[in-house]
């Protein structure tokens, strides 16, 4: 049994605690909240791509699905926002399960295209079904999350809420990373035929992983909805899927720390290089290409190798 990576969890907790208590600039806190949301999405994709070997370029669609389900339920039907999150997750789970069972039989190229196609279909539906989603001009008038007597309307309280969600999520992921389940998934990634001869059904496991990660992403999407109070299809386009792919890959596929590192790093690109906003996608693409070509483990993998070599 491997030990949990406590240093990373404690480091994250300290960073979040520092931001929560010391930083008072609302803008920075908002950026930090968005980074956490990206980190959850990137980690979900990392579990798909880095652990199980499922390439998905449709993650943004699940994120959007969750966001829209939560927005519509809470605004049009007056359901408590906290209740809409599991509903959003369940909806994405069902969609991903139905779509996933046939397409996960595919590999590599085909799978990438199939998930991309699925993402595009959902995106087109978000744009076209304007009687529900508000179409390209977006969905407005989304309420706040209210827990007991706390109304998460301002940046700071939402950041605290998101930090708690994130730490729970990170802890679960660390547990997963050290569990036998993760070995099973990596086994599937390495050789499906070998898996089959050991009595594992790769197809069923892959569909479950795909659907669970879709549900997680959708849950996160619901949180995103109540954070921004305004959603439009632009946030859930092909571009965001590629950004997530870049985050997971640059951070390091197959490491829980990788998704977080990648999300923080690439999420900060538009903030730091705001003068070069136009070049944002070139930076993303360039980093993605360079990491794949020269650093196969991403940043997390490279750091780990360096530490091992020196130890």
């Amino acid at each position: 049994m491997k030990r949990l990576n406590f240093s990373f969890i404690i480091l994250m907790a300290c960073v979040l605690g520092y931001i929560g208590t010391q930083v008072s600039n609302e803008y920075y806190i908002g950026v930090a909240t968005l980074l956490l949301i990206h980190a959850v999405n990137a980690t979900a994709l990392n579990i798909l791509l880095g652990y199980t070997g499922i390439i998905s370029i449709g993650q943004a669609a699940f994120f959007g699905l969750g966001a829209y389900v939560a927005a519509v339920l809470s605004t049009n039907y007056g359901i408590n926002p906290l209740l809409t999150m599991p509903v959003a997750a369940a909806a994405a789970f069902v969609v991903a399960y139905v779509v996933g069972s046939p397409i996960l039989k595919l590999h590599g190229n085909y799978l990438a295209m199939a998930t991309l196609g699925m993402g595009m279909i959902l995106y087109i539906f978000m744009n076209e079904m304007d009687f529900i989603t508000g179409g390209p001009s977006g969905f407005v008038g989304i309420g706040d999350i209210i827990i007991g007597k706390f109304d998460l309307a301002d940046e700071k309280s939402f950041f605290v809420f998101m930090s708690i969600v994130f730490m729970v999520f990170l802890f679960i992921c660390e547990l997963f990373d050290k569990s036998f389940l993760h070995n099973k998934l990596k086994f599937i990634k390495n050789s499906e035929s070998a898996c089959r001869s050991y009595g594992i059904t790769p197809a069923r496991t892959k569909v479950m992983v795909f659907a669970s990660m879709a549900a997680l992403t959708a849950f996160n999407g619901a949180i995103f909805t109540f954070y921004t109070h305004f959603i439009s299809p632009v946030s859930f386009s092909f571009k965001y899927s590629v950004e997530l792919l870049a985050m997971a890959t640059v951070g390091g596929l197959g490491y829980i720390t990788g998704g977080v590192i990648g999300a923080v790093l690439l999420g900060l690109v538009p903030e730091i290089f705001s003068a070069f906003e136009e070049y944002e996608m070139i930076i993303y693409g360039g980093l993605l290409a360079v990491v794949i070509m020269f650093l196969p483990g991403g940043i997390a993998g490279t750091l780990k190798r360096l530490v091992k070599r020196n130890a």
Partner: protein, 287 residues
């Protein structure tokens, strides 16, 4: 009938793009996500040469194709050749990265607006049974059929074509027979970029050209390629035509906003039920 004609026009473009996918897939077993970007590039280059610098068309066309050809070679050298770990997922991600880089570079050079390319031939509407068809559509259909035929001859008869097909069958065996696999790979990327360039040149007077055209046209070309079955050239053309016709007929039934979604439904349906394509043969997978 009118739908049939417009379907054939867009379908032959999809067929051309699908052929480009096929060439690369046949020699390297790779799907090039940046294929659509080369179509955009072809349109952009012809716009710059023909409309901005006013180079005569018969000079501008070869220059455009040469440009696509060279960028195709660079693309293979820079992105595919340098990758240290050539697993399938890595290469797929790499072509995605390359495509977003190309798209954004194009955005910086040519801007975000739709650019209109002047017509190459005078526009006349030809009366056909059950509808009209414009001379541009006829040009598109004729050129793509000609290119498909030429490509087929090239692969069947020429030395390079035979080498390409040998590489697809078995790279090691081809190398043993003295075929330079490396140059064949470069060649296949270059030829398929040039083909995409042709597609870009002939459609841009009708659809105009925008920096982000590449995604859609690339995806539809891929849909056409799998509809026909990857690895089979005539099937790719047939797949393209079928997809085009299907799309234009579906536009008459459902709201046109959903038209683009239809292509993806086709991809998904084909992948669900017949991953080898309509005309493809079943291949055994090696474990």
């Amino acid at each position: 009938m009118q739908f049939l004609y417009s379907g054939l026009t867009s379908g032959s473009i999809y067929g051309l793009v699908a052929l480009g996918f096929n060439i690369i897939y046949n020699t390297t077993g790779l799907i090039n996500f940046a294929q659509g970007e080369f179509v955009m590039l072809g349109g952009m280059l012809i716009y710059s040469l023909f409309c901005v610098f006013e180079v005569p068309f018969y000079t501008a066309l070869p220059l455009t194709l040469l440009g696509c050809f060279i960028i195709g070679v660079l693309y293979e050298r820079v992105f595919i050749n340098l990758a240290r770990y050539k697993t399938e997922i890595n290469l797929v991600t790499l072509t995605i990265a390359a495509s977003i880089i190309m798209r954004d570079v194009a955005m910086h050079i040519w801007g975000r607006d739709s650019l209109r390319v002047d017509d190459y031939i005078p526009v006349v509407n030809v009366q056909m049974p059950g509808g009209v068809i414009s001379s541009q559509s006829i040009l598109i259909i004729a050129v793509s059929m000609l290119v498909a035929w030429g490509l087929n001859m090239f692969l069947k008869k020429s030395k390079y074509g035979k080498a390409m097909r040998a590489c697809f069958d078995d790279q090691t065996a081809a190398e043993t027979c003295g075929i330079n696999v490396r140059s064949v790979r470069i060649m296949s990327f270059a030829v398929s970029s040039a083909m995409a360039g042709i597609a870009g040149v002939i459609i841009s007077p009708i659809t105009f050209v925008t920096y982000d055209d590449g995604i859609m046209i690339g995806l539809k070309g891929f849909a056409a390629a799998i509809l026909g079955g990857l690895g089979n050239f005539w099937a790719a053309v047939a797949g393209g035509l079928l997809l085009g016709i299907f799309e234009s007929f579906s536009a008459s039934v459902i709201p046109s906003g959903y038209k683009d979604a239809m292509a993806f439904f086709v991809i998904l349906l084909i992948l669900f039920f017949k991953p080898d394509g309509l005309f493809g043969r079943k291949k055994a997978t090696r474990v």
